[in-house]
Symmetry: C2
Subunit: 409 residues, 2 copies
């Protein structure tokens, strides 16, 4: 086994991105009602303005604004009503000076009119005219053509994760099949002679497998497609077989456990054997997460990761490396963080980054971030955490009250 | 139509919660690998401690800590190795004074031992003994019994939304079928004579239906089960039929459009007709979102909501009312917000709350929240928004630089 120096988080990320940058991106088209949570694979430009006609935002009378000048609560102006526009149908008659047309909310503004007076400020005067008790300025209560989306405008960017509001934008622009990135296919391998499935009772010395469950859930959360997940005994040939099989179809193969220097730890060797031109990261200066192996096979375009066996560490490395890389390659912006004041001094070893799990507690001035200490083998530390904050490699720790950025988990 | 005073957001919420509080909660059991994102329906107590045996966090030698006292870089102590413990198998021999056993990461600590010296600080001395160059204190590198989850401890609370880390906790505790709340069944109705489906080209005066897409996506986002979604023409009998049919199977019926005072707006009347003992909220002092109708039918236990026709307003009211109520009834905590400094002064009308959409921009001292102004009919305003901040009913607006809580959308 090569014993190389560990990488900082940023060095590891740079290597990972440099290696995987040329990985082919696969695009598919999905129906709009299946597009929630997917990542847009191209910039979208609208062939038409939205709305494509001027619409009223209220129930009222479409007028020439200039005709309402001087009108007020006790001084009406009088206008002839020439049309009652129905919702969903075109306005037919042109409004001339001294005229108006009734228009419902969402209805089409007739030609000649440039504002709408709310119905609450109007009163029937006689059969063909109304009294208007409000002066409006041009554009009042009118959505103009292209006000939501201009013609030929880029209205959604490549890399956008489609939330309900983007689904709405796509609906309004008439995009009913959406170009999105195909989900990464992932194979999840967990190795360890001590592991039994979650529905089995462990014997003395055994524990239930956690990592395949956590990594499967993380994969689903981030939109990956889990091709296989399996728990293997610590035998090199089993791992070789599983990795070789996974590389045939997957974008990402993660093997947790067996990535440190113990006698039965074959992961680094096996990944190095399969990755052409070889594994490039043998350990990250990160707590927790040091025993991390990163490689990329240029032939099959597979990302290969050896994750720590400790579940909390495995999840953190998956988040910081795999999810991060996916975000880069699909042009997604960084997710939003929240800010909080750290509750206590926190020491951290210089020369390595610390991923500090925190609980967020409400207080007068915003959140207090309460550090969660605990061994990285403890799953409940992660469950108590609302998020994490990174203490950089060169930082010597945090001072009580310091404001930190918390990434929500 | 009854013309009642509008409710504040809090009054509307109180009425909604008071009415729906007794709604029966339905629970189902799902497999652990299908439980991601679901809401836990009972407190979970562990019948066993996790881990159930003492485990080593490192590769090393299990020792009596007292035997390593005085050891250091240049002054070893010598211990007899009595066993090589294999991962996944019980430790057999008891460690006596002067003895130790090799234990791998995750391996079982033998009886008699109370700490582990990392293998890096040990050296083979002869065939049966090692030199130890580090003094350890009791408990060092040992996960004790129940350190992750104590026996009989409540380890996950009712109302917990199951994230990947909770899936891990459940796996470690051996919970392979999980009690969760059944998803709310929802029927989504959108009314308007101007609406055409998203895959059709609107004629002059028509627009594409947006609300059923947005509300379906919101429903999926929050784990509701969409039973039906339909676009209706503005005819009272069509709405009556649709609501009656939906109430047979749904927990929540939302009808958007037709909830203001226009001539064709039947929603309030129809919901009032079906809700026993009647609709209780006829408008909310909220911008946007005023034309909101809330009711509850005690017989079918259906929540009935009339949402504004404007898509952005419909989505905001759905978030503030339907999603909020679901969170209350399923015992979920409030979601985490982020904080930001507001970029400009923002005026708001006293007497009504404002839901202000904001874009978050990075800056030295944390986020700047940039208000997004725009008519509530514009879908792109919501798509530009990272979240929203509420300006309370009694507040007169925001001052530039004021720190606000932003709920992420």
């Amino acid at each position: 086994m090569k014993l190389l120096k560990v990488d900082t988080v940023n060095e590891a990320r740079e290597k990972l991105l440099a290696a995987a940058r040329k990985k082919k991106k696969q695009i598919e088209f999905v129906n709009l009602n299946e597009a929630l949570g997917r990542i847009l694979a191209s910039d979208l430009v609208s062939p038409e303005p939205i709305p494509s006609f001027r619409r009223s935002t209220v129930d009222g009378y479409a007028v020439k604004a200039v005709n309402t000048q001087g009108a007020g609560e006790s001084i009406p102006v009088f206008l002839d009503v020439i049309e009652r526009i129905e919702i969903g149908t075109p306005a037919i008659r042109m409004v001339q000076p001294g005229q108006c047309s009734y228009v419902p909310t969402g209805g089409m503004i007739p030609e000649g009119a440039d504002a709408v007076v709310m119905v609450e400020y109007c009163e029937a005067f006689d059969e063909k005219s109304i009294a208007v008790y409000d002066a409006v300025s041009p554009g009042r209560n009118v959505v103009s053509i292209g006000e939501d989306i201009q013609e030929e405008a880029l209205f959604l960017k490549k890399g956008t994760r489609l939330r309900p509001q983007e689904i709405g934008v796509l609906a309004s622009a008439g995009v009913h099949t959406v170009p999105v990135y195909k989900p990464w296919k992932i194979s999840i391998i967990s190795t360890g002679d001590e592991l039994v499935p979650a529905d089995q009772k462990p014997m003395p010395g055994q524990i239930r497998d956690i990592n395949t469950y956590v990594l499967e859930a993380m994969s689903i959360k981030y939109g990956f497609e889990v091709v296989s997940k399996q728990v293997l005994r610590d035998e090199r040939s089993l791992l070789e077989e599983a990795v070789a099989e996974a590389m045939k179809s997957c974008d990402l193969v993660v093997a947790s456990g067996g990535s440190s220097q113990g006698e039965k730890d074959h992961t680094a060797d096996v990944l190095d054997q399969f990755a052409q031109p070889g594994v490039f990261t043998h350990g990250i200066a990160l707590k927790p997460g040091k025993p991390t192996i990163l490689g990329y096979d240029v032939i099959s375009e597979t990302i290969l990761m050896g994750l720590p066996g400790h579940p909390a560490a495995a999840m953190i490395v998956f988040e910081l490396m795999a999810v991060w890389l996916h975000r880069q390659l699909t042009h997604q912006p960084e997710p939003k963080y929240t800010t909080a004041a750290i509750q206590t001094n926190v020491a951290s070893a210089p020369g390595r980054a610390t991923c500090l799990l925190v609980e967020l507690e409400d207080s007068e001035g915003g959140y207090i971030a309460k550090p969660i200490f605990g061994k990285s083998g403890l799953m409940t530390t992660l469950s108590r955490a609302h998020g994490y904050t990174m203490i950089d490699t060169n930082k010597e720790g945090l001072k009580e009250g310091e404001i930190v950025q918390v990434a929500l988990l």
